[in-house]
């Protein structure tokens, strides 16, 4: 599995820092924030307007070999995200995470890097990757805010949950045969803070990006005409999957809520038995025993809920975000095809124009103005031929682009499905195992109690005989 990192495509963008900071300061809807990024950067893919780009998208695929059934048996890069720290400046307070990289890859100068990154930086990286590979599936980032309406951004659980998700995000990229070759990725992992800031500032200006955005919108309005069947199938699947995973997310969160409420009541239940035991003589022992059992079951219940929150909830949530990512990827693919189709139509129109013999208004005018009709017509023909040639060149490039986009997506699709299956299977398995464990522990608690009760009757045979 050889990889060569070259000065990879990433037409570097100006980081929309103003919008970003404001996003983190205000209580914006997290989805909007992420959407802002992906909309802006859709058309940077295979940006042929950037003359400085050395390679075409097509050749890049060849350089980073794409292997269908890779396992991380020969994993040559290890990344951890840990050690959250809070930083206070005059304007804001934010958290940075330590990103530790250990690698044997040749494209890295050192074998070990330790840098600090904040959430913004991760957002930037994701944007760049989607930019450069608009039809690859980039694993989602955790949202800006965990729960709608949750005020505490800096509460321990929130930070830990985010840290784990960021860790997963980077590792997924590292595992990806194409994405891990990205120069932006390398810079993210290795550059010091000031270096990163400088690096972020490169790339096409605001205006050219505006132009691309306008085209993207225009294309999405126009829509794609001849979508290949397989992508329609994928789109339908993604719709359904999105619904199902959303439902599962809600159901699981509801279970957590109900379980927590159950736990609250249970905590009050045990003590009533203890209270009762205070009034009894013969029964006191037993009542205290029952109280003890309930208390122990409370602890187990607490653990079980914690496990659910830590293991299943985050994964389901991740895949809810994935579904949105997939939808965006499919849209981008459609747009690329739409652009290609539009150009083709334009070509066809031009050809028709050129082949039309007369009744050209310009021709009539020209003759009125005294131009030689023959010459005028000849000029016109030449002009149109030129335009047609240009169009044909553009169309070729677009065609390549479509093919590359489709292949990239197809390849990544299989890969994503496998990941999804693996992730969800393991999360549900873990949950089921924990539940079995929970019930086994509670069973032991009650069985112990029962055993203690059944051995007592031997002491009581004397009592039974008294009248």
């Amino acid at each position: 599995m050889s990889r060569t990192i070259d000065a990879v495509v990433s037409p570097t963008q100006t980081n929309t820092i103003p919008a970003d900071i404001s996003g983190q300061m205000l209580d914006l809807d997290e989805d909007d924030d992420l959407e802002v990024f992906s909309k802006d950067l859709t058309l940077a893919d295979g940006n042929m307007f950037n003359a400085s780009m050395p390679t075409s998208p097509g050749s890049m695929v060849n350089q980073c070999k794409f292997e269908e059934d890779e396992e991380s048996d020969s994993k040559d890069i290890f990344i951890t995200v840990d050690n959250p720290e809070s930083h206070v400046t005059a304007i804001e307070t934010f958290i940075t995470y330590r990103v530790l990289t250990k690698t044997t890859r040749s494209e890295f100068d050192n074998s070990e890097y330790e840098v600090r990154r904040r959430y913004q930086d991760f957002l930037w990286l994701k944007g760049k990757l989607e930019d450069a590979h608009s039809t690859l599936i980039v694993h989602p980032l955790p949202e800006k805010f965990v729960v709608k309406g949750m005020v505490e951004r800096f509460n321990g659980d929130f930070i830990e949950t985010r840290r784990k998700a960021l860790h997963k995000f980077l590792n997924r990229i590292a595992d990806h045969p194409i994405l891990s070759c990205s120069e932006d990725f390398k810079v993210f992992l290795s550059a010091q803070a000031w270096e990163l800031t400088t690096y972020k500032k490169q790339g096409p200006g605001f205006l050219s990006r505006m132009g691309e955005t306008v085209r993207a919108v225009a294309n999405s309005v126009r829509g794609v005409k001849n979508r290949p069947e397989e992508f329609t199938a994928i789109q339908e699947y993604v719709e359904d999957f999105s619904n199902k995973i959303g439902s599962l997310d809600k159901v699981t969160q509801r279970i957590v809520k109900e379980q927590k409420e159950y736990l609250e009541e249970l905590k009050e239940y045990g003590p009533t038995y203890t209270l009762w035991s205070g009034s009894e003589e013969e029964l006191a022992e037993q009542l205290k025993g029952v109280a003890g059992c309930i208390e122990r079951c409370c602890k187990e219940t607490e653990e079980q809920v914690g496990h659910l929150s830590d293991t299943l909830v985050p994964v389901l949530h991740e895949y809810v975000l994935c579904a949105e990512t997939l939808k965006a990827v499919l849209r981008r693919r459609d747009n690329i095809q739409a652009e290609f189709e539009a150009k083709n139509e334009a070509l066809a129109t031009k050809k028709v124009d050129r082949d039309a013999e007369s009744s050209d208004l310009g021709f009539v005018w020209g003759s009125l103005l005294g131009k030689n009709p023959e010459e005028a017509r000849h000029q016109r023909q030449e002009r149109l031929d030129g335009e047609i040639e240009e169009l044909k060149e553009e169309i070729d490039k677009l065609e390549d682009r479509v093919e590359w986009a489709n292949n990239a997506l197809k390849g990544d699709w299989g890969r994503w499905q496998r990941s999804m299956r693996g992730d969800l299977k393991s999360a549900f398995l873990s949950t089921a195992e924990k539940n079995v464990d929970y019930y086994e522990k509670c069973l032991a608690v009650w069985e112990t109690f029962l055993l203690s009760q059944r051995t007592e009757p031997s002491e009581e045979t004397d009592r039974d005989n008294t009248p």
Partner: protein, 437 residues
């Protein structure tokens, strides 16, 4: 229970119940009967088989729907002859059970009479209906009524009561018979006395402690039942939400290839898990009913304590009365007036009494003193007998309570164990299915 009807009414103490003679007789009979058979149950099987709805006119002549319960009895020896004959049966409604119990309370004040199951569902949680017509409630009441009858039938004193026997065996005319005993009048005056306020100087300490205990028991068991109901409600919620997994897994499996089978079967297990809670909580309801019975028993305990106080108070009153009469005699004899009295005043003002007048008064007083001494003796015996018989029954009750509640707690533990086992099974199965994903 100390809420009085506005005044310190104590005049009605007399005639609230059996005289000491009657009481003595009763006890003698009981002792004899005990030798014959210790409980009615040795003689006959009793069960409350079914419940049915009837319509009829109530006391204010309005149509109403009520439930009747089938009481079946069968002589024990009939069964042992190899052939099992059909049981004798009759129908009774809840109000008749109440009448029976009230009669027993009044007739045997020293007995801790078993309580009836709830008239209305009091402590409910969301799945449990508060509707008296709800079949589950009716069923639980049926069980409660059977339990009530069995308690009575196994009580050494109550099982021999004629009214009780006829309640079980003759449908018609029973009500009239009960009223003919005149217990209603006793019941009314008893109620009045129970609610009156009075102070006892020397109650038996054991009864004071018992009253204290029954108050505590009532408070703590009420609280326990309330919390348990809330816990049950929450548990219901947890299980039922898992049913949604079943639905979504099933839908999801339709769009997956490799994961489809695993998801589909896992979904079935989630459905099973959600459904299992109904039986689990229904079983627990029986446990709650067992606790409720003892919650209601506290009322009977308090009634016995109260009766003791009443008896003791009567004794103290009689003794006080006697003492005052004796003192009056002494004063009359010695001529000294130690206590202030209107008579003394008037005699001072209007002159001394004649010797004959004094003599007459003395005679009356001596007569009263004699009667008073008889009364005190009677009351003393009454009180002693009451304390003795009541305490026997209370000890009997305590033993029964300890046994029953111990068993109830064990059965609760068994229920929890069963629930855990079911949980283990379901999730192990689900785990298998997830493995196949």
């Amino acid at each position: 229970m100390m809420a009085d009807s506005g005044s310190e009414e104590i005049a009605v103490i007399g005639n609230t119940d059996l005289t000491s003679a009657e009481l003595e007789n009763n006890i003698k009979n009981t002792m004899v009967e005990i030798e014959k058979w210790t409980s009615l149950l040795r003689k006959m099987e009793i069960s409350v088989g079914e419940a049915e709805k009837r319509t009829g006119k109530n006391t204010v002549n309005m149509q109403e729907i009520y439930t009747v319960y089938l009481i079946e009895t069968r002589p024990v020896d009939a069964v042992t002859e190899g052939i099992i004959p059909a049981p004798d049966s009759l129908w009774r409604r809840y109000s008749e059970f109440e009448l029976l119990r009230n009669y027993l309370l009044v007739t045997y004040p020293f007995v801790v009479v078993a309580p009836l199951p709830e008239k209305r569902a009091e402590i409910v949680w969301h799945k449990l209906s508060a509707d008296n017509m709800d079949p589950d409630f009716v069923e639980r009441r049926r069980v409660g009524l059977e339990n009530f009858l069995l308690r009575l039938a196994s009580h050494p004193v109550l099982c021999n009561d004629k009214i009780f026997y006829i309640f079980l065996t003759e449908e018609k005319g029973w009500k009239e018979m009960v009223y003919e005993t005149g217990f209603q009048a006793k019941a009314d005056s008893r109620l009045k006395a129970m609610n009156a306020a009075f102070r006892v100087k020397n109650p038996d300490k054991r009864f004071t402690e018992l009253k204290h205990y029954s108050d505590e028991l009532q408070a703590v068991v009420s609280q326990l039942l309330r919390v348990r109901a809330r816990v049950a409600d929450r548990l219901y919620g947890v299980y039922k939400v898992h049913g949604n997994y079943g639905r979504v897994f099933s839908e999801w499996s339709a769009i997956e290839k490799e994961m489809g089978d695993g998801l589909q079967s896992a979904g079935h297990h989630m459905d099973a898990y959600a459904a299992s809670v109904d039986d689990i909580l229904e079983e627990e309801e029986h446990y709650a009913d067992q606790l409720k019975e003892y919650l209601f028993y506290t009322e009977a305990l308090r009634a016995v304590c109260r009766k003791h106080e009443l008896t003791q108070f009567e004794l103290e009153m009689a003794a006080q009365d006697l003492a005052s009469k004796k003192q009056q005699k002494e004063e009359l004899v010695t001529g000294t007036v130690r206590t202030f009295s209107l008579k003394g005043m008037t005699s001072k003002l209007f002159g001394q009494e004649t010797a004959e007048q004094r003599e007459a008064k003395l005679q009356v007083l001596e007569q009263q003193i004699e009667e008073g001494e008889e009364a005190v003796k009677e009351k003393n015996t009454e009180s002693d007998e009451f304390v003795k018989t009541a305490w026997i029954d209370i000890e009997h009750f305590k033993d029964q309570k300890d046994r029953d509640l111990k068993e109830a707690l064990i059965s609760y533990a068994i229920m929890q164990i069963s629930r855990c086992k079911k949980g283990i099974q379901v999730w192990t199965n689900a785990k298998e299915c997830f493995n196949k994903m």
